[in-house]
Structures are given as structure tokens and as C-alpha cells.
Amino acid sequence: MSTNYATKRVGQAVFTFFVTVSLSFFLYQAMPGGPVEALKNMILSQQSTSAGTVDLERINRLVNLYTNLEPDAPLYVQYFQYWASLLFEQDLGRSIYQNEDVTALIFQRVPWSMFISVYALVIGYAGSIFIGALMAFKEKSRFDSVSSVLMIVLNSIPYYIVGVVLILFVAIRWGWFPYGGRAASSLTPGFSPEYLWSIAYHAALPVFSMSILGLGGALTMRGNSVRVLGEDYLRVAELRGLRSSRIATQYVGRNAILPMYTQFMIGIAGVLSSSVIVEQIFSYPGVGLLLYQAIQVRDYPLLMGGLIIFTTVTIVGILVADLTYGFIDPRISAGGDDA
């Protein structure tokens, strides 16, 4: 992997971050009547105790406090200041309803969302790689055709419906798993085994329902494996009398999984996105739920902050995956044009 490649990827990531922040700035401007008008009513209703006096000064100050935008200044100054507070003070504004720094609010929640998302993705992909490979090895068998249909059915069920069904049966009817919250409230947070177990226990259902998203990869894996099984190098490996375990892992496995890595990267964005819906269904207090609550009360600063943080997390995730890809696939430095 060349330094050139790494530089290019990092540059791309920085550029994406730049675009996202600019986008959120312009979305503020695009709000009906601009940020001032849009927020005014909201702030007024919030601050109803001191109502009566419509003090523009005060409103502007509040708008600035919440959004980092200076309503009176020219657009480019606003833009500049928006950036300045973001970069130098890590300030994403202030939540209107919870009256706390958006940054602080979000960062309390991010690890939990990451935790369930990454687990779901890993489980989903591991499952689909396993099933897909098995289907390819037994190509055209009964197992293959039955699993294909099963995969199509699974692909037709939205993850939130899986979530609802899980809650209905596994949590409510049978009571096997808890739902709501991230750990039993009776336990004190810490690295005690009980607490960690409780975390895993509470995360199980959300993780499972999100992992459905990754299962779509099984058919891709099957296709990849079938393709690799037809490759010349595989035939030569068999002619060389190599052990079948080596052929399965080093030849078929590695070459079939490689193209899925790209999918995995994009999957990060998808799974993180889905956390908004899943966390709400399971009342799992992650960023998704925070955003859900923000949207219910139109807490714009929190929403924008959420968008920026979500994007940043995704950018970093994809960047890391992208850079490590170079270590797994030696051909990448030769020209990863059409990933």
C-alpha cells in the first residue's frame, strides 16, 4: 500500500467531513424563514416563563448559544464562526430542550450505539459468510436451494419488524430477554462481571434484529465463492495436492471474503443509520434514541449535531476499513479504482 493511497483516502475523509458540516450549516439556512425565525418560536415556547417581551437581542443570543450561528452577521461570517466553534471548542451547539451541550449529550451515547451496531454487523456478516460459503460448497444441492429461498425471505423482512416480533415473543410472551435500557438499573455501572453480562443481555435483541441487515451478504458470499471455485488457481491448488482445509481457508475463503470487505465498509453507515429505528423500538439509550427524541420536539441543534457525529463516526470507520484493506489485499496498491 502506497503512502499516496493513504494520503488520498485521508484527504477524502477530511473533505467529506468538511462537506457534512457545511451541509448542516446550509440546512440551518434552508429552514423555513431561516434559523432565526424557525428557532424563535421554539425558544419562545421553551422560555415561556420570561415571555411577554420579545427581545430580539436576547433571541439572537439564544440562537447563537444553541446553534453557533450569529443571526445578524453576514453569511460568510456565520459560516466561519460555525466552523470556528466546531473546530476550536468542539462545540456543536446546545440542546434546546435538555439545555445541555450537544457534544456532551451525544458523546455519552455514542459508545452504546457503536457497541450494538458493530456487534450486529460482525454477527450478520460472520453468519452470512458462513452460510454463503456452505451454500457455494454444496452448490445446486437441496441445502443450497432451500437456503436461497430462506435468504430471500429473510431479505424481505425489515429489521424493525424482526425487532417487534422479538419483543413480542422473546421478551414479552416468553420473557427470555429483557427489553428497554442498556443494563439492569439495579446494578452499579463498572467493570463487574454482572454488569458486563447485563449489558450483553440487554444488547442481545437489538443486535440480533440489526444483524438481519448483514445477512443479505450471504447470497453475495455464495456468488463470490462459486466464482472463486471456478478460478484457475483453485484448480491448480487441487492439482498440487494441497490439504482441503488449506484450500478452503487460504484459497476460497480469503478470495471470496475480500470483495465483501467493501460492502462491510458501506454496511457501517447502513447499520449506524438503522440504530435510529432499532434503538427506539427497544428503548435502547444510544444516539439513535437521542435523535429520535430530538426529532419529536424539533430540537434542531441536537439533530444537526447528531448528523455530524454520525457522519464523523462513519467516516472514521470507513477510513480505517479502507486503510486496513490494503494490508489484506496486496493488489489494492496496484490500483483500487473500482472498489
Binding site: 499516496n4 488520498k8 484527504g11
Partner: protein, 373 residues
């Protein structure tokens, strides 16, 4: 290498250079831009009804040169003229001959018949589209008639059967004939046959070349016939009284008539190619390699001096410094870019090089000692 020709050549290349650069993208901060010179300062005229065959190893730029000659690749230096009209000036709209006409007059037959036809189109559609483009005044019946006539002419009879098939329903030889017909339907002046027979079975190659010659008689076409195989090149060139040009790393290192190139090669590279061409009949007891290294140098980092000196068994010190110009040999059009063609050149006094002097890539061991004599 231009020569006095009774008529204006159909296509003439003057000092043509084609470079490809592979930039590191918009954020290529380290600027490791690699420039590959695929064609380096080549001049070549192709006359009316002439066949010029271009031979050389893969990656020597013969395909790029061919595409440049038919106006499908813009040269980075030098000029390409169609009947005296600069092709790229015409393309940019400042020519006397409209680019349209040039486009129609210079056609191509690709190497792989499998990918030369749109797999989703019936043969009929693939053949009708170009006629429709160039003869919009013809009725559908007239267009069909041309297609039928020509297809039967190349032995695909009854044409009806073939026209309604998809490419995957044809054999390699049949596909290649359809491609030949498709090019001929435009009544071109020059056809670039880019390894047009290499993908066919050995036993079909002669047939295909004969067919090309037969159609040449009908349509008065010139061919630029690219091949890596000397015996094929010689077959078609000799049958048509054409010339053979030998390319090595972007340069035409030797050009001449069939007799000159096959019977009396001057350039050590041509000799090596001749050695490498196996013949059924006639013994060649010579088992020695006429080259010093098997592998071709990296095209992004060409050797100084004569391009061939890293592999040349005859290379001397001067060859590592100076790039030989094309020397005339005899009275014919025979040219070779080798100092040995000039009996008075300082080459003859230059010290011979030993293998330790050359910085060659892997496999740089001496293969065979002196194979020249």
C-alpha cells in the same frame, strides 16, 4: 522513414509519439506520475492498397501505434495525416477533409472476436447500424441486401441463418468474419487488423488471411496488420507484396519488404524474432539464445541509448549511450535502427560490453553466450 511514393499515402505518420501518464489522482501529493511512452517518434506511410504488417512483442506499442494510425488515439507528438489531411486538425474542425469522412475511411478489426460484437444484439443489428449511419439514403431493403451479399461472400451462407443469431451462437471464426464484414461495409481505405487472427485456431488463420486479401481486391483497402507472429505476418505480407515493420519498445527498429526482413534481417531484434519463430520444416540447429536476457525491460523506465541494448548480443559500449537513428540499407525501403547497419560507425571501434555492465532486471543472467555469429 518517409519514402517517395507515386501517390499520396492513405495514412502517413510523422514523428508520432504517444505517451500515457498515470497520475496519482487529484491528491497525488507525491507526484509519482508514471509516464509510459508507448510509441516513440515513429514515421510510417501506408500506401494505397498496401499491406503493412507490424510485429513485435506484447507491450511494444504496436497496438497503440495502430490505433493512432486510424485516428482512434490522439498522439502526444507528431502528426497523423489521412491523404495529406491532418486527422486531428480535421477533428478539431480546421481541416479541408471533413473528419466524418476520415472516420469512415479508417476502420478496425479487434483481436478478440468474443468481445468485438455487442453480445445483446443480433448479428443483423450490429451490421445494419453502421450502414444506417453512413448511408442514410438507402432503404432498409437496400441495406439488408448489402449485408446479405457480403456475408455470403465471406462464406457465411445462408446469410439469413447467421444474421438472426446472437454472437454467442457463432464460432470464433464466424464472429471474426462478421467483424470483417462490418468493417468492409463502410468501404474503408485502411483497416487496422489488430491481432485479428491471433485468437483463432492455427488451422483457421490462413483461411482468415486469405479472406482478408480477397476482400481487399474487391474494396481496394489497405491493411495495417498487427501480429506477434512472424510467420503469419510474412504470409499475408508476401501474398500481397507488402512490407513488414518490426517494433520494439515503442520504436520501429526495422522495416522493409518481406524478402529483406525474412531473408536478410539486419537488426539483432529481428533476428531474435526470426529465431523464436518455430518452423515445421527446415532445421534450425541453433539452440543458443540470440538474446542476453529473456525479460523485456520495464516500459516505465526505458533503457538509455539503444532500447535493445540490454538484451542485444551485439551490444557495444556506444549502444548504451546513443540511440541509433534509422539507417538505410541498400536501395530498397529497408531501414534498421542499428549501428551495425552503418559500416563506418564508431560502433565498430566501441568496446564490447560484458553482462556485468548492464543493469538488467531479474533473470538477467547470460543466456547462451555469443549467438550472433
Amino acid at each position: 522513414m518517409s519514402k517517395p511514393d507515386p501517390t499520396t499515402p492513405v495514412v502517413s505518420l510523422e514523428d508520432v509519439t504517444v505517451e500515457f501518464s498515470d497520475s496519482g489522482g487529484p491528491l497525488g501529493l507525491f507526484g509519482d506520475e508514471e509516464v509510459v511512452t508507448a510509441v516513440d517518434d515513429v514515421s510510417l506511410d501506408i500506401g494505397e492498397r498496401e499491406i503493412v504488417t507490424l510485429i513485435g512483442e506484447s507491450g511494444c506499442g504496436k497496438s497503440t501505434l495502430g490505433k493512432t494510425a486510424i485516428g482512434a488515439q490522439r498522439p502526444t507528438g507528431g502528426s497523423v495525416k489521412y491523404r495529406g489531411q491532418d486527422v486531428w486538425e480535421a477533428k478539431d474542425g480546421n481541416g479541408d477533409v471533413p473528419f466524418e469522412e476520415i472516420r469512415r475511411s479508417l476502420q478496425i478489426i479487434h483481436q478478440d472476436p468474443g468481445s468485438a460484437l455487442n453480445p445483446n444484439q443480433r448479428v443483423m443489428t450490429s451490421l445494419m447500424l453502421p450502414i444506417k449511419r453512413w448511408n442514410p439514403d438507402l432503404s432498409r431493403e437496400q441495406r439488408e441486401e448489402r449485408v446479405y451479399t457480403l456475408l455470403e461472400r465471406v462464406g457465411m451462407s445462408p446469410a439469413e441463418d447467421y444474421l438472426n443469431r446472437y454472437p454467442h451462437q457463432l464460432s470464433g471464426g464466424e464472429k471474426q468474419r462478421v467483424v470483417l464484414v462490418r468493417a468492409m461495409l463502410l468501404n474503408p481505405d485502411l483497416i487496422l487488423a489488430d491481432e485479428a487472427i491471433s485468437a483463432l485456431d492455427v488451422s483457421l488463420r490462413v483461411e482468415m488471411m486469405d479472406l482478408m486479401l480477397e476482400l481487399q481486391d474487391v474494396f481496394d483497402t489497405s491493411y495495417l496488420f498487427i501480429s506477434h507472429d512472424l510467420s503469419n505476418a510474412r504470409y499475408i505480407a508476401e501474398k500481397a507484396g507488402g512490407r513488414i515493420a518490426v517494433m520494439y519498445l515503442g520504436q520501429i527498429v526495422e522495416i522493409g519488404t518481406v524478402d529483406e526482413i525474412i531473408d536478410d534481417p539486419t537488426h539483432p531484434y529481428t533476428k531474435a524474432l526470426k529465431w523464436a519463430t518455430p518452423n515445421l520444416f527446415g532445421e534450425e540447429p541453433d539452440t543458443e539464445f540470440p538474446i542476453r536476457t529473456i525479460d523485456v525491460p520495464d516500459p516505465t523506465n526505458l533503457p538509455d541509448g539503444c532500447r535493445f541494448h540490454t538484451r542485444c548480443p551485439e551490444a557495444r559500449e556506444v549502444c548504451t549511450r546513443e540511440d541509433p537513428p534509422p539507417f538505410e540499407i541498400g536501395v530498397e525501403e529497408h531501414r534498421a535502427r542499428c549501428f551495425r547497419a552503418d559500416p563506418d560507425h564508431e560502433y565498430w571501434d566501441s568496446p564490447e560490453i560484458t553482462d556485468d555492465d548492464t543493469e538488467a532486471g531479474p533473470g538477467a543472467g547470460a543466456v547462451g553466450s555469443e549467438a550472433g555469429d
